[in-house]
């Protein structure tokens, strides 16, 4: 038994699902997943929500903390870091109350001028998985910094020989706190903050930089890396021998081509929520899924991407739905598709320049994206259309109430009151910004100016 929560009539389907659930036909978790999936399918640029702007440069990475799902960490191209509170959604005053624009407020910033700040562009930011008191950041100034989030000062700094393309801390680790760091060198370093230095080196990539590192979300010792030698590798950090496996197709390729993970450098790796599969994105503008136990490529055909440049791809994967969706920055748009039904591609347009990173905020059923246009955009279910309906309704009620009060104050008759009421509602309904305004001069004078929605 399954519930289809399509975009056509989500409310009805939800009610239907609830009915099924109360009848015991489906499990609540199942319904929840369905609903989540349907929500993700309907993501649009939010009409109301925005993230408070900082005067920093392009947004290079975003991360939402995993403990509270509350704080949005963002790293900017000028080396500054900002933290927004995703629970603190306030109405803006400065928009004259015309549109109910809601802003996620800024909690704190490390401005570019600060002595703790990165000297150059930040590439990766991440919260400490178990606590919001610590976060890490790394960037093109070849430094990985571990921050005290409360004092906004660096607790530790680790320098590397090359640009730090990416780093990652295991979200499930309990027995180690190692940070995997991919730099310009082919060796993946594992930094142990407890030891205060890079304790491990993982040698396996042939040459060049490592552009993607990702700890498994099921096994704390499993690490996936992707480099510009076109290979994605799986490591068990406990073994000193070498990599666990290289993701490669066993099919013979014609001619000179090696059997590599991608035909270009591997710029992004991500484990599926169940940990069984590894998704890799390469500069050949393709995405593949690999079985983490066998190292075989799945036969799934994912849509061709675009604008995957020679840079680490900061994409995200939803976790809680019956079908999980990917949000991959592709140029000025975000390409979104489900892992099960990859043919249904959705493209989200909203940024005016390249999108650098996406992050999914499960609590708010929203996706956040940062781009070169210095903006963090909020993508929410149907673009918060429901909210705007709600607001309109509320406002209509308020207007009605006001009219009643006025009428009462006037102490006049019933008719008058109704007059007032209707007039005020009419007044309210005229929204100048989203109406057609075909003017009379376009037509003959005899025709009436029809105002249509």
């Amino acid at each position: 038994m399954s519930v289809q929560c399509g975009p056509n009539n989500p409310k009805k389907n939800i009610i239907q699902g609830l009915a099924y659930q109360s009848a015991g036909l489906i499990a609540p978790i199942q319904l929840q997943r369905e609903i989540n999936t349907s929500f993700v399918r309907q993501l649009e640029l939010s009409r109301h929500k925005e993230v408070e702007a900082t005067d920093a440069g392009a947004v290079n990475d975003l991360h939402v903390d995993t403990t509270e799902n509350r704080y949005l960490l963002s790293g900017y191209s000028d080396g500054s870091i900002a933290v927004h509170d995703l629970h603190d959604l306030r109405e803006d005053e400065y928009n004259n109350g015309e549109v109910d624009s809601l802003t996620y407020k800024l909690v704190c910033t490390v401005s570019a001028g600060s002595r703790y700040a990165h000297k150059r562009s930040i590439e990766t930011v991440q919260w400490y998985p178990l606590d919001t008191g610590i976060f890490t950041s790394s960037g093109t100034d070849r430094v990985l910094k571990i921050w005290d989030a409360n004092r906004l000062q660096t607790a530790e700094e680790y320098s590397f020989n090359g640009i730090v393309h990416c780093h990652h801390m295991s979200p499930v680790a309990t027995r180690h706190t190692m940070v995997a760091v991919g730099t310009d060198s082919s060796v993946v370093k594992l930094v142990d903050p407890r030891a205060g230095s890079a304790t491990h080196s993982l040698r396996g990539h042939k040459e060049g930089a490592v552009r993607a590192v990702q700890w498994s979300n099921k096994d704390e010792f499993i690490l996936a890396t992707g480099g510009i030698d076109n290979f994605a590798m799986l490591w068990d950090v406990r073994t000193a021998k070498g990599c666990l496996m290289k993701m490669q197709d066993n099919k013979k390729k014609s001619g000179y081509h090696r059997n590599t993970t991608h035909d270009g450098s591997v710029n992004g790796v991500e484990f599926t929520p169940d940990g069984h599969h590894l998704l890799t994105i390469g500069t050949d503008q393709k995405m593949y899924a690999w079985d983490t136990s066998s190292g075989k490529k799945l036969a799934m055909r994912y849509p061709t991407l675009s604008h995957i440049k020679r840079r680490s791809v900061k994409f995200c994967l939803t976790k809680s739905g019956s079908e999980n969706f990917l949000f991959i920055p592709t140029g000025s748009s975000i390409t979104s598709f489900g892992l099960v039904t990859p043919s249904r591609v959705q493209r989200l347009y909203g940024h005016y320049n390249n999108v650098n990173c996406t992050v999914f905020h499960a609590d708010g059923q929203q996706m956040l994206s940062g781009g070169n246009d210095h903006k963090i955009l909020v993508w929410s279910v149907r673009g918060d259309l429901d909210y705007s309906y709600y607001v309109n309704e509320r406002r209509a009620l308020a207007v009605e109430k006001m009219a009643r009060q006025e009428a009462a104050a006037f102490g006049s008759g019933e008719q008058n009151e109704e007059d007032h009421l209707s007039r005020s509602i009419v007044n309210f309904q005229v929204q100048p910004h989203t109406l057609d305004t075909w003017s009379d001069d376009d037509e003959d004078d005899t025709e009436q100016n029809d105002v249509r929605r």
Binding site: V99, H307, T330, Y349, H433, T434, W438, D441
Partner: protein, 808 residues
């Protein structure tokens, strides 16, 4: 319709683009085609503003439904992708119109705002705006203004619009505040400038007024000084006649007598040497004075006191021509009775008087030999004379002072006053001030004029030139009669004639002059006519030479003779016999039969002393003889530079500009052609240089007449390309084409009929075309092959493949 021009468009955008196209599916194909047609019409006008009626039609179509609007957006975007800024400009203007009307349009445009901005405002560096530059610049600024307006108006309703606006503001650093403020600021700036200007004007005005008030006294003093000097040198009759009135001596009625008396009474400054000219001092008028008697006033005049009559009479003697004239006419009736006239009058027109009460007058007049009261007396006051004041030890101080003051007036004061006047009139001063200044100026000019007429200034100049020939100069003076003396010598050559014609007033001229002047001019003209046969340019009456001829024939004579000497054409007939070197043909000029070719002794052996005994001198052949007889004369023809062009029509509609003497390498023999480049004669004529030259000239002038040189579209285009300002090359191109078409066949190629500026035209330069010819692959290959083969031949000839030769 071509939709995607840009290859850089990636797959994603193409896909998105296809999504847009879907909207047309729901529409009536009729409407679709109509909309396509209208948008084509709207955007290819090439004008910076939209055609109102077409736009209205388009809006009416769009209004029918949201799908129409979306399809309209699709059309607009496809127009925006054209590689022509004028099309894009028009399309963006249509977009603005619809944006302000339709919600659906707003939504879809806001969705595609990124692309829209990239196409109109150059937000992506990889996609520069296409030519023409002027339209591109206009589009960019206009679109930014548009977006500012959209944001102000609809920003609250469309989230993406806000994001786009912020993007432009933050990332592209477009200062929207500036755009918003610019219109206000521009106004403010203009006002500010105006205010500043007025302030400056007021300051200048105040300054000038102050100056005037300060220097007025000085000027007046100067004027007074000059005038009193003049008085001393040339006392006005009023002054010394006052003495007469005091003495109450009845004047004798003869002019001679009067003259004598005046001589007696003349102030001492009058030098005895000037006595020759005393006549002149009184008969200042060069021109005949015609007096028209008005009989009605005569009785009153009779009763007038003698003194007044005298005054009136002597007022005649004032030296200023014009004043004398006017006064003469004023007082003509007064002078009737006892005026002493040098009776040299040419004509006396006497008419009978009907009035009986004038008999007495008649009698009186008859005493003077005048018949009746109604007559006209024309008085020729003797030989028109210029009066000179000679510097003597007596009047030297006065003369010098006068000179000085006149110099200050003409050099210093007059220009100053003129400048004041200019400023006053420009800054809008009060009328009184201006009037006062004008009065001042008039006074100064009057004094200056008097000084000039006294010949004080010019005399001095001449003195400086040749100090010895003072006397001769004075004798020469009468010959210069009729000149405007104040015209400087260097200007006289240029303006003399014209000035004289315009300024010569008929009443100033004596009858004799009237008679002689046209004669003179005719003479000079005839002379010109003669010259015309030799030199063409003098024939033109507007030319300098012709003017000179009329002004100063002798000078021209000299000039022209000098010129004619320098002219090589004329030098031929000036008895320059060609010089030939002496030769055999000249030696045997008388009997050429005797001419013999020198025999040549040929030694068979070249041994020094061993010679064969008999050697036969070869009989010179007939060939050698003829060689002797022929005389080699080097061609002494003149080199004639090629002034004509080929002017064969070329595919680009222009005429071939090559200047070849006989044959153009591209178009064959150079023949006379009309202004379209068609041969003038059907049978191809070998070009004679003369006809070609004239033909070329005439045609070139015709070309000029069709389009002024500054309107040459190619030139304009180049300038536009460099500056990015619209000079209207498209318009002049069209004009040119129209003219060409109107004139005849033209290039009826039926090209594009659109009104857009041809953006390829600027690339189609002669340089480019030649480059294409020269550097095209085939020709380069050919040249290379030739050079290679030449190299190879050289090497082969030198046995380059053999070791011992290869290094040489």
């Amino acid at each position: 319709m071509e939709l995607i021009h840009n290859n850089t468009w990636d797959l994603l955008e193409c896909r998105r683009w296809r999504e847009l196209q879907v909207y047309s599916k729901n529409l009536d194909p009729n409407v679709v085609s109509q909309m396509k047609k209208i948008i084509q019409e709207l955007t290819t006008t090439g004008s910076p503003s939209l055609d109102v009626n077409t736009l209205k039609k388009f809006k009416r179509l769009c209004r029918d439904g949201d799908d129409n609007v979306r399809f309209a957006f699709y059309l607009i975007m496809s127009q925006l992708k054209k590689n022509h800024s004028e099309i894009r400009l028009s399309a963006s203007q249509v977009a603005d119109e619809l944006f302000n009307r339709s919600h659906a349009f707003r939504e879809i445009l806001v969705n595609y705002l990124n692309e829209f901005l990239a196409l109109t405002t150059e937000t992506e560096a990889s996609k520069p705006l296409p030519p023409p530059k002027a339209a591109a610049v206009k589009m960019k600024t206009d679109t930014l203004k548009m977006i500012q307006q959209w944001y102000d108006k609809y920003g609250q309703g469309y989230r993406k619009l806000v994001i786009g606006y912020d993007y432009l503001k933050n990332c592209k650093h477009i200062d929207f505040n500036d755009i918003r403020a610019r219109s206000v600021a521009e106004r403010m700036k203009i006002e500010e400038e105006e205010r500043k200007k007025q302030k400056i004007m007021a300051l200048r005005l105040a300054k000038v007024l102050k100056e005037i008030s300060e220097e007025k006294d000085e000027i007046m003093m100067c004027v007074k000084e000059a005038e009193s000097c003049l008085q001393l040198l040339l006392p006005s009759p009023d002054d010394f006649l006052r003495d007469f009135s005091g003495s109450e001596v009845l004047q004798s009625k003869s002019n001679k007598n009067d003259d004598n008396k005046v001589d007696e009474k003349i102030p001492p400054c009058k030098s005895p040497s000037a006595e020759n000219h005393t006549d002149g001092t009184y008969c200042l008028s060069n021109n005949p004075v015609s007096i028209v008697e008005s009989p009605l006033r005569s009785p009153e005049l009779d009763s007038c006191p003698q003194e007044e009559n005298d005054n009136a009479k002597l007022r005649l003697l004032q030296y200023s021509n014009s004043s004398a004239d006017t006064k003469l006419f004023e007082n003509s009736s007064l002078e009737r009775n006892d005026m002493e006239i040098e009776t040299e009058s040419d004509e006396k027109n006497v008419s009978d008087s009907n009035d009986s009460d004038k008999d007495e007058c008649v009698d009186d007049q008859q005493l003077h030999g005048l018949h009746g009261p109604e007559y006209t007396i024309e008085v020729d006051l003797g030989q028109p004379d210029i009066f000179n004041v000679q510097e003597t030890s007596d009047n030297i101080d006065v003369v010098r002072t006068l000179k000085e003051s006149s110099k200050t007036i003409s050099v210093n004061l007059l220009p100053k006053v003129t400048a004041w006047l200019e400023i006053l009139s420009k800054t809008g001063a009060k009328e009184e001030d201006i009037k006062a200044t004008i009065d001042l100026k008039v006074q100064l000019e009057c004094v200056k004029q008097k000084c000039v007429e006294l010949k004080l200034v010019s005399n001095e100049k001449q003195k400086l030139k040749d100090a010895d020939s003072d006397e001769e100069d004075f004798e020469d003076v009468p010959e210069k009669e009729g000149y405007e003396p104040h015209i400087p010598a260097h200007l006289r050559t240029e303006y003399g004639l014209d000035k004289r014609e315009t300024s010569a007033k008929p009443e100033h001229e004596s009858a004799s002059q009237k008679a002689t002047l046209p004669l003179k001019t005719e003479k000079s003209w005839q002379w010109n006519l003669k010259e015309k046969l030799k030199k063409e340019y003098t024939a033109d009456p507007t030319s300098l030479a012709a003017a000179m001829a009329r002004v100063n024939p002798e000078k021209l004579n000299v000039d022209s003779s000098a010129e004619s000497k320098s002219c090589p054409g004329d030098s031929k007939d000036s008895s320059q016999v060609p010089f030939k070197s002496f030769g055999t043909d000249l030696a045997f000029w008388d009997n050429p039969d005797e001419m013999e070719a020198p025999s040549i002794v040929k030694y068979d052996s070249l041994h020094r002393f061993w010679t064969p005994k008999e050697f036969d001198s070869e009989k010179p052949s007939q060939h050698d003889l003829s060689a002797l007889r022929t005389r080699v004369v080097t061609y002494a023809g003149k080199f004639e530079p090629v002034k004509w062009t080929c002017r064969a029509p070329m595919p680009n509609g222009k005429l071939c500009e090559r200047m070849d003497r006989y044959k153009c390498p591209f178009h064959g023999k150079v023949i006379p052609r009309d202004e379209h480049g068609n041969p003038q004669h059907d049978d191809v004529m070998p070009s004679s240089s003369g006809t070609r030259a004239t033909c070329g000239e005439s045609s070139s002038t015709e070309d000029n007449s069709t389009l002024p040189p500054w309107k040459d579209p190619e030139l304009q285009r180049e300038i536009e390309h460099a500056t990015g300002k619209d000079l209207g090359s498209a318009r002049s191109q069209k004009e040119l084409e129209k003219k060409l078409v109107g004139k005849g066949k033209g290039k009826g190629k039926g090209k594009k009929t659109s009104n857009l500026t041809d953006i390829n035209a600027s690339k189609n330069t002669s340089r480019k075309r030649i480059e294409n010819k020269i550097f095209n692959k085939g020709s380069v290959k050919r040249v290379c092959a030739t050079l290679d083969s030449a190299d190879y031949r050289r090497v082969r000839d030198k046995f380059g493949n053999q070791f011992n030769y290869s290094l040489s």
